[in-house]
């Protein structure tokens, strides 16, 4: 198996166990069960990191909490991953928008001929776009919720995420269809008639996956907000702790 699977683990974990695990992976044949096990193990490693970061490592055994903080590389990876998701989602949503009935008006179609490639109308384009967009929002919102000082702010952010993900999931298609519906009402142009002549019918077909993604996002944000240590368990600043460690040595 490829050692690239190790990229799923936190950098601190890889620094400690990466070489040994890479050696073991090199001896293993690729199997779906192994992949699932690695993904699950990586999830455990991240959760363990979060637990230790919040000062709730089991039994006080192990290295100091400060040593378990995610490094800059992890934070940068998280940010770049979310940004990449957002960019890809934006591109896919743009491609999807180029194939919506509203833009299928001959004059507009000529202007978007480059974007209106046949593959962009495939069923998986909006699905992947929604997943990526919602994933990016969820990751960024969870990270913000984690960094908030007060849990209530995390809860508020989670609620805002629920409100933010749903529009994202049908923003392009839904908004254009809404505009399309309004235009139908105003002009009743025969060229623009589509199966989604009612904008609310379009939303009704789009909201279940959006709601599911929003609920998942809310759950992630809630976990992030609640896992963060409260004001009473805040760690002392690094200066006194280092001084105490030096003093005890």
């Amino acid at each position: 198996m490829s050692r690239r699977w190790l990229a799923l683990y936190p950098s601190a974990w890889r620094a400690r166990h990466g070489e040994a695990m890479a050696d073991t992976l090199a001896s293993l044949a690729w199997r779906p069960a192994h992949v699932l096990d690695i993904v699950r193990g990586a999830g455990d490693a991240w959760l363990e990191l979060a637990r230790r970061r919040s000062g709730r490592a089991g039994g006080g055994i192990g290295p100091p909490v400060a040593a378990a903080r995610p490094g800059r590389a992890d934070r940068a990876r998280l940010r770049s991953g979310a940004s990449a998701c957002a960019i890809v989602a934006a591109v896919l949503l743009t491609l999807r928008a180029a194939t919506t009935p509203l833009l299928a008006v001959p004059t507009l179609r000529a202007g978007t001929a480059v974007l209106s490639m046949p593959w962009s109308a495939s069923w998986w384009v909006p699905v992947v776009a929604r997943l990526l967009a919602s994933g990016a929002v969820t990751v960024l919102a969870a990270r913000l919720a984690w960094r908030q000082r007060w849990r209530s702010a995390g809860l508020a952010l989670a609620a805002a995420t629920l409100g933010g993900v749903v529009p994202i999931s049908w923003s392009v298609g839904g908004a254009l269809r809404l505009a399309h519906g309004a235009a139908l009402t105003a002009a009743a142009h025969p060229i623009w008639v589509t199966p989604h002549s009612s904008p609310w019918a379009a939303i009704a077909t789009d909201w279940p996956p959006a709601l599911l993604l929003g609920a998942a996002s809310l759950a992630v944000c809630l976990v992030a907000a609640l896992r963060r240590p409260g004001p009473t368990s805040r760690r002392p600043s690094r200066g006194p702790r280092v001084a105490a460690e030096l003093g005890s040595g």
Binding site: M1, W13, R16, H17, E19, A20, M21, D23, T24, L25, S27, L28, A33, H34, L36, D37, I38, V39, R40, G41, A42, D44, A45, G58, G59, G60, I61, G62, P63
Partner: protein, 110 residues
């Protein structure tokens, strides 16, 4: 009464408790690297440890000081049982024996 958890047994390892016991048992026979532990557990216990589970257990055991890594041999990192790990393994085996005795006693009484 809340459930008490000893910090010197495997119950604090959550889902890794069983696999950690397999790793400790495998290392009781001598130092081994990760892949050798996988094969050993599969051959002797019939359990296939996945790589994620194996190294999740190894990381936790190492952090608790129950196993220690040795210098690399041909780019492979072997692990060995420490005195603390041996004590934990002995205690876990004793608990399993008590459990088996209790169950077999129930069977015998019927």
């Amino acid at each position: 009464m809340g459930k008490t958890t000893r910090t010197t047994d495997l119950s604090g390892l959550g889902r890794f408790a069983d696999s950690a016991l397999f790793v400790l048992a495998s290392l009781a026979g001598g130092p081994k690297h990760g892949y050798a532990v996988m094969q050993d557990v599969r051959d002797h216990a019939g359990v296939r440890l996945g790589p994620g589970t194996l190294y999740g257990a190894i990381a936790r055991l190492e952090r608790r000081g129950w196993i220690a890594r040795l210098p690399a041999v041909e780019r492979r990192l072997p692990y060995q049982l420490t005195a603390g790990g041996r004590a934990v393994l002995r205690r876990e085996c004793a608990d399993l024996r008590d459990f088996a005795d209790a169950v077999l006693g129930l069977e015998h009484d019927r």
